[in-house]
Symmetry: D2
Subunit: 136 residues, 4 copies
C-alpha cells in the first residue's frame, strides 16, 4: 500500500530540558508524515472537502522510543498505509535517526465527514471508493 | 498505587482547523499528569537530581480517543501508577471531558539516570528503593 | 478598562534545552490571557459568533524578557485592555514570576468578522457597540 | 551583515480553529530562522559551548502580521543580522507567503554564557571577537 518518506530536522522548540525531543512531538511528526502522505496521493484538504470530509482525525496512536533524538538531528519518517477498513485506516510510522530506528508506531484514523461549522462537527463516515483506491 | 487528578482547560493553541484538540496535545496532557504525579509524591526535579536522575523519559506511549474535545472544554486527567519494574514504571491516564471518558492511554517511562550535560546524556537506570516506595 | 489575571505553571513542554521557557511560549501565555479576558467580559466564542465574528486575530505582538522563567515556576499574567480603536484593541500583558516582573508586552488584535468556512476567511471589521461596552 | 533564508511549510499543528497560523508560531519560525543562521555561519551549539555559551536567548521580540497564512502555505523566512552590540544582537525577520510579505519583525538576543547546569544558569555575557566576526 501507499507510503511516503518525510525528512525532518529536530528544532530547538522540539527539545526539553533533558536535551531530548519532548516525546509528544514524535506524534506531531507522525501527523506530518500522514498529511504528507495524503497530499502525495492526491488527497489534500480541498480534495477531502470536495468529498464531504475534513481530514482523517485520530482514533488511536501508539509510539515506542528506541533511540534518543536531539537538537539538529536529521530524522527520516517512513509513513505507510498498513490497514484499510470501511471507516478507518491505519498508518504505520518509523522514524530513523541516521541509521538508527529511533521511533516506531502507528495511528488509526477515521474518515472525518462533515465540517467543523456543522452542529455535530466532524464525525466518522464510510471512506468513499475513490479514496480507497488512492490509499492502496 | 499512587494516582493524581489534574484539571485542564483546552486552550485555543491546542485546537486544530477541524476545531478539535490536535491529538498529540493529549500526550502532552499525559506528560503534565505524570509530572504532577511525581511532584505530589515528593519527586520533583531537584529530588530526582539528588538521586542521580533527570526525569522519567518515555519509552512507550499509547492513546485511544473516544470522545471529541474542543476549545474551552474542561478536562480532568486521572493519572495512576499501574506497574513498576526495576527500571521502568507504567502510568495509566484517563481524560474525562465532563462525564465522558474522552481519552484513555498509558506511558511507560524509564528512570533517567545521569544529566543532559553528560557525554552519554540521560539513560535508563535501576529505580532506587526510596523512589519505589514513593510510587507505591 | 477591563483587566484579568491568569495563573500559570510552567510545564516541561514549555522549556528548552537551556532550561528556560522557549520564548514564543510567552506569547502563547499572552494569548491565553486574552482569551480568558474575553471570557470574563462575556465574550466567549459562541457570543462572538452571534455577533458575526470568530475571535480577535493578532495584528502585532511584542514581548520583552526581563527575568528567567523555568520548569514549575508559578507565573501570574495580568492582561489589560489598553487601547480601543474602531477595528482593533490593544491588550497589555505583564507576566510576574513570584515578585519579579518577568515579561512585559502587548498584542494588537482586530475584530475578526466572518467565518473560517467563508471563501475570504476571517477579516478585520468594525467592533460592534456592545463589544466596545464590554471592553471598557 | 549575515543573512539566511529558511523555507517552511505550514503544518496542521501550526493552525488554529480560525484556520490561521496561531500567531506565536510565527515567533517559533523566527527562532528557527535564527538557529539556521547561527549554523550557517559556523556557530552551532557545540561551537557555542566551546566558546563558553549555550545559545542566544531572547531579550525582546516583535512581530507584525500583514497577510494571513494557512495550512500548507509555503513560507520563506529571511533572517538577517541587523545590529550588533557588545552583549546583544538584533535579527530582523521577514516571512513571505508566496509574493506577499506576511510577517515582519525582529528578535534581540543576548550571548548566553554559562551552562543550564550552573547554579546561576545561562546569563548575558560579552560576545567574543570570533563570534562578532562570524556575525558580520
Amino acid at each position: 500500500m501507499r507510503s511516503l518518506t518525510t525528512d525532518i530536522v529536530v528544532e530547538w522548540e522540539d527539545c526539553d530540558p533533558a536535551g531530548l525531543v519532548f516525546y509528544p512531538r514524535f506524534l506531531s511528526y507522525f501527523d506530518r508524515g500522514s498529511w504528507n502522505l495524503w497530499h502525495a496521493i492526491g488527497l489534500d484538504l480541498p480534495a477531502m472537502k470536495a468529498l464531504g470530509a475534513f481530514g482523517f482525525p485520530a482514533l488511536e496512536a501508539k509510539a515506542t522510543f528506541h533511540y534518543p533524538c536531539r537538537f539538529r538531528d536529521r530524522l527520516r519518517i517512513v509513513s505507510e498505509v498498513a490497514e484499510i477498513n470501511s471507516k478507518t485506516v491505519r498508518v504505520d510510522h518509523t522514524i530513523y535517526n541516521g541509521e538508527q530506528e529511533a521511533v516506531t508506531g502507528y495511528e488509526v484514523r477515521f474518515w472525518g465527514v462533515g465540517h467543523p461549522a456543522d452542529p455535530q462537527g466532524v464525525r466518522a463516515g464510510v471512506i468513499p471508493d475513490e479514496v480507497l483506491k488512492m490509499l492502496k
